[in-house]
C-alpha cells in the first residue's frame, strides 16, 4: 500500500518543469469495482459524503433506485442503477459505482488552462486544486466521463479526489472502506488488474457470463478505477459507461499543436511590421520637405 507524501506527475496549464515523476518510488494505485457483486446498498455514497464533509441538498426522484440522476459538485460517488432485461424475459440489476475514473491520460488536465488547478500524482490520482481553479469549465468538456461538476456559487469545479488525503496517509479511500460485500477493493494498479482479470475469468468459466471482462479503457492509457462487468461488449448498459472514451480533439492536437502554432503566426505580425519599417521605412505625407525626399 502506498504511503508517504504524494508526488506530482503532471500539472495543468503549467509551462515549466514538473517536480515529481521518478523522484520517489511510488506504486500506481487503483480502485477495483466488481459490479457483479455490488448490492446497491449505497454505503459508498454515504461514506463519500461523510468523509468529504459535503452539504447535502434536495435531489430529484426519477423513478429509479438511483439517489440522483447524475453526480454533482457535492456528490462525487453515485451508484447508477439499470434494470436490464435478459434474453429469457427476466431482468437483472446492473449497478455501477460512478465516480472519477482517474485516467492515466486525463482529459480534464489536458483541457485546463489554469496553472496548477489540476494535478496528477505519480500514483495516478487526478486531483483538483480549487484555489487555482478559474471556473472556466474546460475540464467539463475535456472529461470523457462527464465527471467534473461546476458549483455556480463558488465558481469552482469539483470531483472525486480518490481520497488523496487518505491515500497520502496510507489509508484506503472512504468508499472502499465502507463496502460490505467486498465488491470494492483498493491497491496497486497491477494487483487490482490481476484480481479483476481472475474474477472475470471466474465469471466466464464458472458463472456462465461468457462475455465477462475488465473495463480499463486503453484509449485513455487505462484508468485508475477498473470495473469487472458481466458483459464487456456493452459497457453503455452500466449507466452510460463509454465503450471507447476519447478526449475531444479540442484538447489534444488542437490545444497542443494548432493553438501555439496559430499564436506564433498571429504574433509574427509584430516582427513583420518592425522589419517592414526597417527595410521599407515609413510612408510620409507628400511632398516631403526638400532634402527629406525618398531616394531608392
Amino acid at each position: 500500500m502506498p504511503t508517504g507524501v504524494l508526488q506530482i506527475r503532471a500539472i495543468s496549464g503549467h509551462p515549466g518543469t514538473v517536480p515529481g515523476r521518478g523522484v520517489q518510488r511510488e506504486e500506481e494505485v487503483c480502485k477495483y469495482v466488481d459490479v457483479t457483486t455490488c448490492i446497491g446498498c449505497k454505503a459508498c455514497e454515504v461514506a463519500c459524503v461523510e468523509w468529504n464533509d459535503m452539504p447535502f441538498q434536495q435531489t430529484t426522484f426519477d423513478n429509479t433506485y438511483q439517489t440522483m440522476p447524475a453526480t454533482a459538485w457535492n456528490y462525487w460517488n453515485l451508484i447508477k442503477f439499470n434494470e436490464h432485461p435478459r434474453d429469457d424475459g427476466t431482468f437483472m440489476w446492473l449497478m455501477r459505482k460512478d465516480q472519477c475514473m482517474h485516467c492515466e491520460d486525463p482529459g480534464c488536465l489536458r483541457a485546463c488552462p489554469a496553472d496548477g488547478a489540476i494535478v496528477q500524482y505519480t500514483n495516478g490520482i487526478v486531483d483538483f486544486q480549487q484555489e487555482n481553479c478559474i471556473g472556466c469549465e474546460y475540464c467539463v468538456s475535456g472529461c470523457p466521463f462527464d465527471i467534473p461538476k461546476f458549483n455556480s456559487l463558488t465558481k469552482k469545479v469539483y470531483k472525486c479526489t480518490l481520497c488523496s488525503d487518505r491515500v497520502g496517509q496510507g489509508l484506503e479511500p472512504a468508499c472502499i472502506k465502507s463496502c460490505p460485500t467486498g465488491c470494492l477493493r483498493f491497491g496497486t494498479k497491477a494487483d487490482m488488474k490481476a484480481v479483476a482479470e481472475s474474477r472475470a475469468r471466474q465469471l466466464r468459466e464458472q458463472s456462465g457470463y461468457e462475455h465477462a471482462g475488465v473495463y480499463d479503457p486503453p484509449s485513455l492509457g487505462g484508468t485508475h478505477v477498473v470495473y469487472v462487468l458481466h458483459d464487456i461488449r456493452e459497457p453503455e448498459l452500466y449507466g452510460g459507461l463509454r465503450k471507447n472514451p476519447q478526449i475531444p480533439i479540442t484538447y489534444t492536437w488542437w490545444k497542443r499543436y494548432a493553438k501555439p502554432i496559430g499564436l506564433a503566426i498571429a504574433l509574427f505580425a509584430a516582427p513583420a511590421a518592425f522589419f517592414h519599417y526597417v527595410m521599407e521605412g515609413p510612408k510620409p505625407p507628400q511632398p516631403q520637405p526638400p532634402g527629406e525626399e525618398v531616394s531608392r
Binding site: A114, P260, H276, P285, P287
Partner: protein
C-alpha cells in the same frame, strides 16, 4: 433600414459631438469627428482588455504573466466576458457609424491587386481612386465585424454552458480561438499602420484632423470630395513650390 441606421447614427454623432470639439487648422481637414473618436477608443480599450484576459487563458505560457494584471486567474475569467461585451457593444455602434464609408467598391478590388506596390512603398502617393478608407482598412474592418459575430455566437455558449449545452461550448472554444488569432494579427498590423508606418495618421484618431498633404497622399478621392480640389494637381503644385523654395536657398 439604412435610413433608420443613418438617423440613429446622425443623432448619436450630434449628441456626442456637442460635448467635444475638433480643432482643424488652415492646412488641415476634419477626418474623424468626436463621436467616431470616442467609439474608436472605447472599442480599443475593451478590445485590449478582452485580448489580454483572453490570451492569458489561451496559453499556459501566458497565464502566469497576464492573469496578475486582472487580479489572478479567477477574476480574469470573470472579467473576460464583460470586457468582450463592452467591445461588442461599442463595435456595433462603430459598425453603424462606418457602414457607409466601409462599403466595398470595385476600386477596392483594384487596390487589392496592387497591394504589393502599397506594401513596398513603391509610389509616394496613392492612386487617385482611394477614398475615405482604402481597401486594406476595409478588409480589417469587415474582418472585425465577422470576428465580433463569431466571438459573440461562440462566446455566449462558453459563458452559459448550462443553458446552451456542452457541444455548443466545445465548438465555441475552437471558433473563439480562430477569431482571436485573426484579430490579434490584424490588430498588430493596424497599430503599425496607424503610427510608425504612416506618419501623420495617429492624429486623425486623437485630434480628429489631418494635414491636407496627408489626405492627398493617402486618400486622394476623399481629398477631392472634402475640398472639391484636384489632389494630384495640388500635390504637384506643392511639390513645385517646395522645389522652388529649396532652389532659392
Amino acid at each position: 433600414m439604412s435610413t433608420a441606421v443613418e438617423r440613429f447614427d446622425e443623432a448619436a454623432r450630434r449628441r456626442v459631438g456637442a460635448h467635444g470639439r475638433t480643432v482643424v487648422r488652415d492646412d488641415e481637414l476634419l477626418r474623424h469627428p468626436v463621436y467616431t473618436r470616442v467609439l474608436h477608443w472605447s472599442v480599443a480599450v475593451f478590445f485590449l482588455l478582452a485580448l489580454l484576459s483572453g490570451l492569458s487563458i489561451y496559453s499556459p505560457w501566458l497565464f502566469r504573466f497576464i492573469t496578475p494584471l486582472f487580479g489572478g486567474g479567477p477574476t480574469t475569467r470573470l472579467l473576460h466576458p464583460w470586457f468582450s461585451l463592452g467591445f461588442v457593444v461599442c463595435f456595433a455602434l462603430q459598425t453603424l457609424n462606418w457602414l457607409e464609408p466601409m462599403t466595398w467598391t470595385p476600386d477596392d478590388g483594384r487596390w487589392m491587386r496592387r497591394l504589393r506596390v502599397y506594401v513596398s512603398n513603391a509610389e509616394p502617393v496613392e492612386p487617385e481612386y482611394v477614398g475615405f478608407f482604402n481597401a486594406g482598412q476595409k478588409v480589417y474592418f469587415w474582418a472585425i465585424v465577422v470576428s465580433a459575430i463569431v466571438f459573440l455566437v461562440s462566446g455566449i455558449p462558453m459563458w452559459f454552458p448550462k443553458t446552451f449545452g456542452r457541444p455548443a461550448a466545445d465548438v465555441g472554444y475552437v471558433l473563439h480561438d480562430i477569431a482571436a488569432l485573426v484579430m490579434l494579427g490584424g490588430f498588430l498590423v493596424h497599430i503599425y499602420e496607424g503610427t510608425a508606418a504612416e506618419p501623420g495618421t495617429f492624429r486623425s484618431m486623437v485630434r480628429g484632423a489631418v494635414e491636407r498633404r496627408w489626405a492627398w497622399t493617402h486618400h486622394p478621392a476623399w481629398y477631392r470630395e472634402a475640398t472639391g480640389r484636384d489632389p494630384r494637381k495640388d500635390y504637384e503644385q506643392a511639390r513645385g513650390a517646395r522645389r522652388a523654395e529649396s532652389g532659392r536657398q
